[in-house]
C-alpha cells in the first residue's frame, strides 16, 4: 500500500469498511511509515492514533471523554496560534486532522444510527466548535483566496446551512427520530468538510 492509498483509505479503515487484506496492509504501512503516521497522527495535539481507533462502527460510549479532551486541547493550541502563514497552515492542518478524526470515529451517518438524541446534541456541540474554528481559519485565509473562490465557498455553505436548519427544525419537532438525527449529523459533516477544504485552499501552496 502506498502513502496516497493509505491516506485515501483512512476514513474507510476507521469505519471498518476495508476488507481484511486491505486493513492488514493499512496497518502494516502505518507501522513503518513515519510520513503517514505524522500526517494522520502527530499533528493532533493529543494524538488520537488512527491505528488505535475503534474498529467498531457503533459509537463507543467511553469515546466521549477522549473526544472532549482532544477538542479542549485543540482550543488551547488554537488560541496560541499567531497570524503568520505557516502558523495558519499549521492551524488548518490541525483542524483538518481533528475534524477528520472526529469524523472518522463518530460522525458518519451509519455510525450515528441508534445514537440517542442526547448524543446527537453532544455531536452537534462538537461539530459546532470545529466549524467555528474552521470558519475563523477561513476568515484569516480570505485574503489569500480570490473573490470568485470565496463566492463559490460561501454559496456552497449557504446550501448546507439551509439543509442544516431544515433538518434541525424537523428534529426539534420529532426529537426521538433517529433518522433525522443522522441527517443533522450528515449536514454538519458536510459543513465541516467543506470548511476544511476551503481553509486548505487558502493555506496550501
Amino acid at each position: 500500500m502506498t502513502c496516497q492509498e493509505l491516506r485515501a483509505r483512512a476514513d474507510a479503515y476507521a469505519h471498518d469498511t476495508l476488507d481484511a487484506t486491505e486493513a492488514a496492509a493499512f496497518e502494516a504501512h502505518l507501522a513503518t511509515c513515519e510520513d503517514c503516521e505524522s500526517a494522520l497522527v502527530a499533528l493532533a495535539p493529543t494524538p488520537p492514533g488512527i491505528a488505535g481507533l475503534s474498529r467498531s462502527i457503533e459509537p463507543a460510549a467511553d469515546l466521549w471523554p477522549a473526544i472532549r479532551e482532544r477538542v479542549a486541547a485543540r482550543r488551547e493550541r488554537s488560541a496560541r496560534i499567531a497570524a503568520p502563514r505557516w502558523a495558519l497552515a499549521a492551524a488548518a492542518l490541525l483542524l483538518v486532522v481533528l475534524s477528520s478524526g472526529v469524523t472518522a470515529v463518530l460522525l458518519t451517518s451509519r455510525e450515528t444510527r441508534g445514537v440517542a438524541t442526547r448524543d446527537i446534541s453532544a455531536l452537534e456541540a462538537e461539530y459546532s466548535a470545529v466549524s467555528e474554528d474552521l470558519t475563523g481559519a477561513l476568515e484569516q485565509a480570505r485574503s489569500r483566496l480570490s473573490p470568485e473562490t470565496m463566492a463559490t465557498i460561501e454559496r456552497n455553505l449557504r446550501i448546507i446551512d439551509a439543509a442544516l436548519d431544515e433538518t434541525r427544525q424537523a428534529l426539534a419537532r420529532e426529537p426521538g427520530n433517529a433518522a433525522l438525527g443522522e441527517m443533522v449529523v450528515a449536514a454538519w459533516r458536510q459543513k465541516v468538510d467543506l470548511l476544511r477544504r476551503a481553509t486548505a485552499l487558502g493555506t496550501e501552496s
Partner: protein, 296 residues
C-alpha cells in the same frame, strides 16, 4: 505614414510573438512521483510507455513562467505566477508521463484532463473541470465548482465536488463521491463499495452492485434514482423523511397505488426488505428528495 499603415498588423502579431512555447523533456522512473501546477488555462496529461516526462505548451505574456525539475523518482513542473490571486492569462500544458506514475495536480480554474494512466492521481481544483479516463489504482479529485468526470475501472476513487456535476462511467471497486449542490450521475456501474452523497443535488446510479458489495446513497433534498437489475440479490434499506419512495423492480412497492411502481410516501422510518439471497446492500437516505428504484 508607412508605419501607420502596418500598425494594425503589428498589434496583432506582437502578442503572438511574445507567447512562450514550451518543449521540454526529462528522464524519470516509471513509477515516479510528479507534481504539476498550473492555476489558469488547461492541463492535459497522457500516460505513455516511456520513462520520461515530455511537456509542450504555451504561456502567454503575463501568465507566469514555466519551471520543471527533478530526476529519478520525483519531478515537479508547472507555471509560477507572481500573483496567484489574479486569474491572469491562461497557460496550456500538454504533458506526457510514465503510465504508472503517481501524480499530484493543482489548478484554480484550469481544466484538467488525464488519460492512459494506471498509477495514482490526486487532483485538486477550485473552479476547473477535471476529466479522468483510464484504469488507475487510485484517483482522488476535488473541485469546488468544476465538473468531475471519471471514466474507467479504477480501484479506488475519491471525489469531492461542490456545485459541479460528478459523472462516473464504468465505476468498479471502491467509490466515494460527495458534493453539495451538484448532481452525481453514475452509469454502467458495478461497484464493490460506493458512497454517493449530495446536499441538494440529484443522484442517479445505473448499474449493479457486486455480491457482498454496498451501495450507500444519501442526500438532503436531491432526488435519487437507482436503476438496478431486476434480479439483483440485495438487502434494501430505504428512507426519506419527507419524500416518496418508488420501488419498481418487482412487486415490493407499497402505498397508494397498485402493482410494481406503487409509490410509498413515508416519514422517518426506513423501509427494509431483501431480494434474492440478499448478497449486496443498497442503502438510501433522503430528507425530502424522492427515491426511485427502477429497472434499467
Amino acid at each position: 505614414m508607412r508605419l501607420h499603415r502596418f500598425l494594425p498588423a503589428l498589434l496583432l502579431v506582437a502578442p503572438l510573438a511574445a507567447q512562450q512555447k514550451i518543449d521540454r523533456r526529462i528522464a524519470i522512473a516509471s513509477d515516479a512521483s510528479i507534481r504539476i501546477h498550473n492555476l489558469v488555462g488547461s492541463i492535459r496529461i497522457v500516460g505513455w510507455d516511456r520513462d520520461s516526462i515530455a511537456v509542450t505548451g504555451s504561456i502567454p505574456p503575463g501568465a507566469g513562467s514555466f519551471y520543471m525539475g527533478g530526476s529519478g523518482r520525483g519531478a515537479k513542473l508547472g507555471i509560477e505566477r507572481q500573483d496567484e490571486l489574479k486569474e491572469g492569462q491562461p497557460a496550456t500544458l500538454d504533458i506526457r508521463v510514465p503510465r504508472n506514475a503517481r501524480l499530484w495536480v493543482k489548478s484554480a480554474s484550469a481544466s484538467v484532463e488525464a488519460s492512459g494512466l494506471t498509477g495514482e492521481l490526486e487532483c485538486s481544483s477550485v473552479r476547473g473541470s477535471i476529466r479522468i479516463e483510464g484504469s488507475l489504482r487510485l484517483v482522488v479529485a476535488e473541485s469546488m465548482e468544476g465538473n468531475l468526470n471519471v471514466a474507467g475501472a479504477m480501484s479506488v476513487v475519491r471525489l469531492k465536488g461542490g456545485g459541479g456535476t460528478i459523472t462516473l462511467r464504468g465505476a468498479r471497486g471502491d467509490v466515494l463521491a460527495t458534493t453539495v449542490g451538484g448532481a452525481i450521475v453514475a452509469t454502467d456501474g458495478a461497484v464493490t463499495r460506493a458512497h454517493l452523497e449530495t446536499v441538494s443535488g440529484t443522484i442517479a446510479y445505473d448499474g449493479t452492485v457486486s455480491p457482498r458489495g454496498t451501495l450507500d446513497v444519501a442526500t438532503h433534498s436531491g432526488d435519487v434514482t437507482l436503476r438496478l437489475p431486476v434480479d439483483i440479490s440485495a438487502e434494501f434499506d430505504l428512507g426519506s423523511f419527507d419524500g416518496s419512495i418508488l420501488y419498481g423492480l418487482s412487486g415490493k412497492g407499497e402505498g397508494k397505488g397498485k402493482g410494481e411502481d406503487a409509490p410509498k410516501p413515508f416519514r422517518g422510518k426506513p423501509i427494509s426488505f431483501t431480494t434474492g439471497a440478499g448478497e449486496a446492500r443498497v442503502i438510501v437516505r433522503s430528507f425530502k428528495g424522492e427515491i426511485r428504484i427502477l429497472k434499467p
